[in-house]
Symmetry: C2
């Protein structure tokens, strides 16, 4: 079978397709014939050697994907050959070999049936984004009816899913982007409000939107000095929920910018939550329900064929996309 | 009657005793003849004009105190003339005129009987410290049996009260101080462990004390760059609880120093909690119970006569004390 092998860390050109051995599934393991792959920034980080796992090349990549059960190992009870399945991704190493391949072996507890009304491409784009925002905002922080939530870097693959989850929870989404040319596309992706932060008026605009009380939560994957403005845009008892660090510089926060309004900074990593089988089961159920009802519909920015996966990485790094980048195995 | 009036912001010498009118209590108000005053850093900040309330001189000062009911206004139901009472202080402006005076008028909802087994000096030293650490650690953060808690600036007036509350909650106290000469006194004040941070080994020592897991909570009144080391000394899911900012410089935290262990930064201001009458009632009950049982015994660093209140402020600013500074009206 064909699989991407990274033999040395570096640019997209290091994503090389090689012929490798197809492995029989071990006990409790399922072999999935991959038909679509969801791309993730963590994989760009892994490709350049900046992700915690795995540590040294050669490595295989890929957390997210959907396809068909090709073979089942001993003691697999929940899945049968021919069934459409999707990976429950958590950004850690439970995918033994990675989804950037024609086949991928995985423990059955990290699989779920693909929702009937979604294509494999859609389901490959679904799970990581919706599970992350559910686990962070609904399960961990407990977003409430009527809350206003700032969603930073809102053109990312978590943008539209987050807006849809917030709508389901009857909360207001306030998206931010530093790209003026993305404002319209983000609005069309479901945000209640969109703020172009390049104008330097984040706090003023959030205050206007929230009748001067400020937002209740800032759902932030950036970090860095921008956190100070997020604190300024929050209401009393507001929470900054860090789930990424596109900007790894210090946050430059003075204690008073938090204490005056009793603001909390919480941090969130998806695999910390999904490692708990009960949380995972609740999250998977929530996403299935949303997908079935039509409320959760992933926004796909662009689909690339497997042979052009390096181009897909380049496209992700270019930051032009709004939504999820998907790679398909179809010819 | 005599009262301290600050006619311009500045050093301790600006605390001037003047003759002022004794005021009759309004409805729901009690006039207390003050016998002892607990001193607070917030009053030093107010004296130099760096506390939010009140904003401009002339001002009167003082949040904490104990004494005897001298007169009651209309509709006062809970207190009678001659009764020993203490102020329930929250660092905000509910004390109409301030406790740095022979008499002080206050709404009865902010008064409580003085515990029978405590002197007025002890009760003046009791309420702010124990209510703050109860509200922050027990009520707001929910410290649990078996938790390890780092208590910074442990020679402060909150040190011994915090150690006693943690002992009552069956948690371990790890005190820190930057003054080598205070280590022994802090240990004697009830801390389970004391770390001299001037040695630069906070993280190493906390790891040793906690069998390499790290502490669960850092109860911090300093802020500033030191927060980075606190994050390093915490366990997975650890919480930094900011309740002061002796060091107002930026915290210089990178997002990764929080996210790797899902660390939260929470902030706490006592009057945000005590403004809620239910929380206040629970806190007052908790402190009464601890005082009655003998578990809560405030540590008094030194007692000054009212006429030497400027010296008491100087002493507080000198940072030599371990425990609470009290001013007495007794001749």
């Amino acid at each position: 079978m064909r699989a991407i092998i990274v033999r040395e860390f570096g640019g997209p050109e290091k994503l090389v397709i090689e012929e490798v051995e197809k492995r029989d599934p071990a006990a409790h393991e399922v072999r999935v014939r991959i038909s679509a792959i969801g791309l993730n920034r963590a994989e760009v980080a892994a490709r350049v050697g900046k992700y915690p796992l795995p540590k040294s090349p050669p490595i295989r990549l890929g957390f997210e994907g959907a396809g068909v059960v090709d073979a089942v190992g001993a003691d697999v009870t929940g899945f049968k050959v021919g069934q459409r399945v999707s990976i429950v991704p958590d950004g850690s190493s439970h995918v033994t070999e990675g989804t950037y391949a024609e086949y991928c072996n995985i423990a059955e507890e990290w699989l779920t049936p693909t929702p009937e009304n979604l294509s494999d491409e859609e389901s490959a784009a679904l799970w990581m984004a919706y599970l992350t925002s559910w686990a962070a905002l609904v399960d961990y922080v407990g977003v409430a009816h009527g809350d206003s939530v700032i969603v930073t870097a809102a053109s990312s693959s978590l943008g539209a899913p987050t807006f849809q989850i917030l709508a389901r929870e009857q909360a207001t989404s306030i998206a931010t982007t530093r790209s003026s040319d993305k404002v319209e596309r983000i609005r069309n992706s479901g945000a209640d409000f969109v703020i172009d932060t390049s104008a330097g008026e984040l706090i003023k605009r959030v205050k206007e939107i929230t009748n001067h009380t400020g937002a209740n939560i800032a759902y932030d994957c950036i970090g860095g000095p921008g956190v100070k403005d997020l604190a300024g845009a929050l209401a009393y008892d507001g929470k900054i929920l860090l789930y990424g660090m596109l900007d790894s510089r210090p946050m430059d926060l003075k204690p008073m910018s938090l204490m005056g309004k009793r603001i909390s900074i919480l941090s969130f990593i998806i695999f910390h939550s999904l490692a708990d089988p009960e949380i995972r089961a609740r999250g998977v159920r929530y996403v299935h329900e949303g997908a079935k009802s039509g409320a959760f519909k992933p926004l796909i920015a662009r689909v690339f064929p497997f042979e052009k996966i390096a181009e897909a990485h380049e496209y992700m790094q270019s930051n032009q996309q709004v939504g999820k980048i998907v790679v398909t195995m179809r010819k």
